[in-house]
């Protein structure tokens, strides 16, 4: 990371500096896991209050709706960042677990009349059960082959969904899934859904942060960096990988069930490879090994897609170009790159002053 920084100070860095300083107050720390924060900081409180206050400031229902989607994507990205950002394994099958969660919710609530909350937990459990089954054989693979195997699982899931109309409604999908309801309180407006989803997201983020700041997080990072070293100190590498995979899948399943209850429909087109790619992009652009970054990445990409949708048939090519450009210019995450630039600026001015002093 550090060696990619330009060694020379450039004039145009001055242009960035003001905006960057402001950004740095809210941007997630790019090297969060290096300086692991064992305590909660002021920054966490700022995030929390922003999430609470945002829909009150912006009372536009469209904004609420997009933020609801962004929240669902953020849960997905949070699950994947444990697997990809921390444990260093890649998965292109998150959309399948998302779909499993959505269909579990849909089937349980529409066919069996199960209340929302048990169905919500059941979808997380179902997704993690499938992750356990599929993860045991494929997690011994690495790199491209792991990516391909998870992608294959996603495609098989789609084929299964399309070909069993009795259970999943086939290509058409399932309609009229009831809104999420909790003890008689129905989440039927976008505002209510916003608080539901971001509340759940905060709970899951807290859970992840606790994992990351304790021995489990260290084990993830150890597995990502050197598996031999990890097993030499008694870490069961395959079990850690499987557990992270299962946790990520459970997050995806929970997100899926929320998605089904918010959108009231579930159909196979939603859970295609494109969604998996999108989730991985959120994690990469948010920064690897970082918990808040992927959430920011999810918000950013959801708004990007929403903004592009008005260009209709041009939206997909533009989207592809933007993805590639973002990857080329911010390969280690948008926040990280800006932050590194900023750190460099600060250290540069410090060094310059010192140098002048020496010359005097």
């Amino acid at each position: 990371m550090v060696d990619q920084v330009h060694k020379e100070f450039r004039k145009r860095d001055l242009l960035y500096s003001g905006a960057l300083w402001l950004l740095s107050l809210i941007l997630p720390d790019p090297q969060l896991h290096y300086r692991r924060e064992y305590q909660f900081r002021k920054r966490d409180l700022i995030y929390f209050l922003t999430i609470i206050a945002l829909p009150m400031i912006w009372s536009d229902p469209h904004f609420h709706h997009i933020m609801v989607l962004a929240g669902i994507h953020a849960i997905l990205a949070l699950g994947l960042t444990l697997f990809l950002g921390y444990a260093g394994q890649i998965s292109l099958g998150q959309a399948a677990f998302f779909g499993i969660g959505a269909y579990t919710m849909a089937i349980l609530t529409t066919r069996c009349g199960v209340p929302s909350l048990p169905a919500f937990w059941a979808s997380g459990l179902t997704a993690s059960f499938f992750a356990y089954l599929i993860g045991r054989p494929i997690l011994k693979l690495k790199g491209y082959f792991l990516a391909l195997a998870t992608l294959g699982f996603g495609e098989i899931f789609l084929v299964m969904v399309r070909e069993s109309p009795g259970l999943t409604g086939g290509v058409i999908g399932i309609f009229d899934i009831p809104y999420f309801s909790l003890a008689g309180f129905i989440f039927d407006t976008y505002l209510k859904q916003y608080y539901l989803i971001w509340g759940i997201l905060m709970g899951l983020a807290l859970f992840s942060k606790n994992l990351i700041r304790s021995k489990m997080g260290r084990a993830f990072l150890a597995v990502a960096s050197s598996e031999d070293g990890a097993s030499a100190v008694g870490i069961d590498v395959s079990r850690i990988k499987l557990s992270v995979f299962v946790i990520g899948a459970a997050f995806a399943g929970l997100a899926g069930s929320l998605f089904a209850s918010v959108m009231s429909t579930a159909n196979p087109e939603t859970f295609s490879l494109n969604l998996s790619v999108l989730i991985v992009m959120m994690v990469i652009l948010g920064g690897m090994g970082n918990l808040y970054g992927p959430i920011a990445g999810a918000i950013f990409l959801t708004w990007l897609i929403n903004g592009l949708s008005r260009y209709q048939e041009y939206s997909l090519p533009i989207y592809g170009v933007i993805l590639i450009l973002l990857l080329v210019f911010f390969p280690d995450g948008i926040g990280t790159r800006l932050r590194v630039r900023l750190i460099y600026l600060i250290s540069y001015s410090g060094r310059k002053r010192r140098r002048e002093k020496v010359e005097l």
Binding site: Y144, E155, V159, I284
Partner: protein, 296 residues
């Protein structure tokens, strides 16, 4: 109807499919032999090959061979551009980023071609306009034979490239030991650049040969690409002969599966085979020079 009566016909169509997968797989192998990169936009080269030929033939009214040749050149150019604009800037990036970049490129190429050439499926006229051969009750279209010929010609020329020419050796060296290749004066970036061109060329040839058999539309590249990759893994990742063998094996198994399970599951069969082969023998049928059993 008796299942067994359909088997010979399924077998022949399986072999045709197999030749296609083999051709696409060879494209993957070419890049992998030069750089260990897996280019998920490979399927788009196939789609573009067919699409551009169709465009040149029907809109600009070029003669068929000229249109095909020009299409191959254009796709090779796209392959070079893909390397220069996407892969080269990311040469130091980690694996997930490269993976995402090629997937993004694939998304861009397919959606852009929908924009340029329209969303309707297209088919080229067959190369030789004669009736299908009839052997017993099996009919073989002449185009299938063309595809077979193309697959074996490509295999042969790739074999020459990698085993008889210094360039092929240099490509292989830059894949297996990048630093060592750099130190002996092989330009690794040039090797990858050339490999992208060659693989785009192979992809477009595959596209031109199969478009007379199947309709090609803007979204069909992704699936063909994935199946070609599965074929390459099945036969032995990184081996030309492996890609050919894997392609035929995959094509035949996939076609025969139609006789036993509902045809909707046909696309799932390839991925099920992928999961099985990755689990039980990640080296593939012929073994792979790039995968040792401990690391994968």
């Amino acid at each position: 109807m008796d299942i067994w009566a359909t088997i010979p016909q399924l077998l022949t169509s399986g072999i045709t499919f197999g030749a296609i997968y083999a051709l696409v797989g060879l494209g993957f192998v070419t890049i992998a032999r030069a750089s260990q990169i897996i280019n998920f936009a490979q399927g788009e080269f196939v789609m573009l090959g067919g699409m551009i030929t169709f465009f040149l033939l029907n809109k600009i009214h070029l003669p068929y061979p000229l249109a095909a040749l020009l299409a191959i050149l254009i796709v090779v150019l796209i392959g070079f551009l893909l390397h220069l604009l996407v892969i080269y800037p990311l040469r130091k990036a980690s694996l997930p980023i490269l993976l995402m970049a090629t997937l993004g490129a694939s998304l861009f190429l397919s959606s852009a071609s929908a924009l340029f050439f329209g969303t309707l499926p297209k088919a080229l006229p067959p190369f030789s306009a004669r009736a299908p051969f009839e052997i017993g009750n099996i009919s073989i279209s002449p185009q299938s034979l063309w595809v077979l010929v193309a697959a074996f010609l490509t295999l042969f020329s790739l074999y020459l490239l990698s085993h008889r020419l210094l360039l092929g050796k240099a490509m292989e060296a830059s894949s297996t030991d990048p630093l060592g290749a750099d130190l002996t004066g092989i330009s690794r970036n040039l090797m990858i650049f050339l490999a992208f061109g060659v693989s785009a060329g192979i992809g477009s040839v595959a596209g031109i040969f199969i478009t007379p058999i199947f309709y090609v539309s803007y979204y069909s590249g992704t699936l063909i690409g994935l199946k070609g990759f599965i074929a390459a893994v099945l036969g032995g990742w990184g081996k030309h002969s492996g890609a050919i063998l894997g392609g035929f094996a995959l094509g035949v198994v996939e076609s025969l599966s139609v006789a036993f399970i509902p045809s909707g599951y046909k696309d799932g069969v390839a991925f099920a085979i992928l999961l099985l082969i990755l689990y039980f023998r990640p080296k593939g049928i012929l073994g792979s020079p790039f995968i040792d059993s401990r690391r994968w």
